[in-house]
Amino acid sequence: MGPAEIKETILDILEGIAPDEDLSGLKDDVPLREQLELDSMDFLDIVMELRKRYRVQIPEDDYLELATMNSTVNYLTPLMKDLEKV
């Protein structure tokens, strides 16, 4: 999948984690932590969801790459380019 589909996947995961949030106004270049008050438990859930759904492994040293939507998509693009969106 390409960057657009990866972004959709991340939004889908975020919607699952925080069903009360309206994600339509989410800014791609502002830290998710800031916009949604996500904590480290939530970031680990994003990591675990990616593992559960796509078998994508993200090493702990790379968690900082998940700071914003843009950085997340950039980081995941090479890792997920050969995967089909489910």
Binding site: P19, D20, L36, D39, M41, M48, K52
Partner: protein, 474 residues
């Protein structure tokens, strides 16, 4: 023989929350519950056509819909619930009533602050410094956390009466240890009760438990009722086999037990070098069903923490019950948009388990009735002329607590010794729930989440900073 990734002992709030986390991440998980129903310390029953709650007075840690910070918001995200799923309705207002002085508090901390300022003018700056320090305090592994809260609070606040008034609600809603608590727990409870506040679902604890069970089962989790653990066999410092009361056997890679520290060790073949202390603090609770809403009878408080003696005593009483302090809970006095089906008053007071246990069976009922009358007299101070309104009643004693929760000594808040990280002397046996150290509705669920994350899902780095953020309630 059935085999699981994880066995969870106890289908209370912590066990169910842990189960949801594990089932969500595709672990093969089974919750074993000895009783015929779920809930453990926070459960529910029907009697005479009415619904009763056990445990729950008020859910603490209340934050309104849309709040992203605080234990409730974090918990909802971890369990993937919507705010509406718990349907929490805030309190009208509560009170700490001591001889000649009372402090009201609501879910707006400023009101409590002004009450303290007015009643204790000399302590104004001290109280503000204490609450600011607690607001920022989030280091439960730090040096202060395990120290005596009384000795630390005394460094800020001079007036022993104010100190007692601050400790009274915190101890009633989660004090497992006599006289004192550690400063870490004092801080999270101060926040959860005074700075966040109380709420209740209209339908009581059922609202939360039913959502938890439904979610757990939807995710493929298995729940077995009437499935008590008789013993756990140990091999090479690991639980190797779980034997149920009916003799059947189960194996699992890991066991999370919410049964309590002492209670869990009693199931294990191999004991640790040092035996932990069981809890000593138990309670009686009387429940009166009235034919009129308490507000119409002149009382709009949600919860009243009272003390009548010069010094507030948080200790096991010498007699069956100590009525010099206690809690009056009025479940109707929350900001519901429709009245509850029944009007109720609940009164809780400290009780002596041994005294109750040693009563000859022939005297037990009479003692229960006499104690009910004694604790209900207290209600008359807050709701005048209410007795003729009583249409039904019920009562629990330390024996009831022991029978339905399995807690040694009927100690609701478990052992004074807590295992914050959930580890035991066995490599694959972990504790969640009361004796992990988070008590109350939100605290119990958070405990299950944290232990499941740390010890099963393997996200070790997540938990330390979370510990401090969790609040506690009844």
């Amino acid at each position: 023989m059935s085999s699981y990734d994880t066995i969870i002992i106890g289908a209370g709030l912590s066990g169910l929350a842990a189960g949801i986390r594990l089932a969500h991440y595709d672990r093969r998980v089974c919750i074993l519950e000895r009783h015929t129903t779920i809930g453990g310390l926070n459960s529910f029953y029907r009697l005479g056509g009415r619904n009763f709650d056990v445990g729950l007075h008020a859910v603490t840690n209340y934050t309104p819909k849309g709040a992203r910070k605080g234990p409730l918001a974090r918990l909802l995200r971890q369990l993937r619930f919507r705010w509406e799923d718990f349907a929490l309705v805030p309190q009208i207002g509560s009170q700490i009533a001591f001889p000649g002085i009372s402090l009201n508090f609501t879910n707006d901390f400023e009101l409590f602050r002004s009450e303290v300022h007015q009643a204790f003018p000399a302590e104004r700056a001290n109280f503000d410094k204490l609450s600011a320090a607690i607001m920022d305090y989030d280091d439960l592994d730090g040096a202060l956390a395990s120290q005596s809260a009384r000795s630390i609070v005394t460094q800020w606040i001079r007036d022993p009466l104010l100190i007692d008034m601050l400790f009274c609600p915190l101890q009633y809603y989660g004090g497992a240890r006599e006289h004192d608590m550690d400063f870490g727990q004092f801080s999270i409870m101060f926040r959860s009760i005074f700075q966040e506040g109380f709420a209740r679902p209209w339908s009581g604890i059922r609202q939360i438990l039913k959502n938890l069970v439904r979610r757990f089962k939807e995710l493929g989790g298995e729940l077995r009722l009437r499935a008590g653990v008789q013993r756990m066999e140990v091999d090479d410092d690991r639980v190797s086999r779980i034997v149920l009361d009916d003799g059947s056997e189960i194996t699992a890679d890991r066991v999370l037990s919410s049964a309590g520290l002492v209670e869990t060790l009693a199931m294990v073949d191999q004991q640790p070098a040092r035996t932990p202390q069981p809890g000593q603090l138990s309670f009686v609770e009387g429940i009166a069903v009235l034919n009129e809403q308490p507000q119409k009878l002149g009382c709009d408080r949600s919860v009243i923490f009272f003390n009548d003696s010069d010094k507030f005593r948080w200790q096991k009483p010498d007699e069956l019950v100590d009525v010099t302090s206690g809690v009056v809970c009025l479940p109707n006095n929350f900001k519901f948009d429709r009245p509850l089906e029944d009007a109720m008053v609940r009164v809780t007071a400290l009780a002596n388990y041994d005294r109750w246990r040693l009563l000859p069976p022939v005297d037990y009922q009479a003692a229960k009735q006499a104690t009910y009358e004694r604790i209900m007299e207290i209600v008359g101070r807050f709701i005048p002329e209410y007795r003729a309104r009583t249409v039904a009643s019920d009562m629990f004693t330390p024996m009831t607590v022991e029978r339905f929760t399995g807690h040694a000594n009927g100690a609701i808040y478990g052992s004074p010794e807590k295992r914050r990280h959930g580890t035991t002397h066995l490599k694959n046996l972990f504790l969640c729930g009361t004796d992990q150290g988070f008590v109350g509705i939100i605290g119990a669920m958070f405990s299950g989440i944290m232990i499941a994350n740390r010890h099963v899902l393997g996200t070790v780095s997540t938990d330390l900073e979370q510990v401090a953020a969790v609040g506690v309630d009844f």
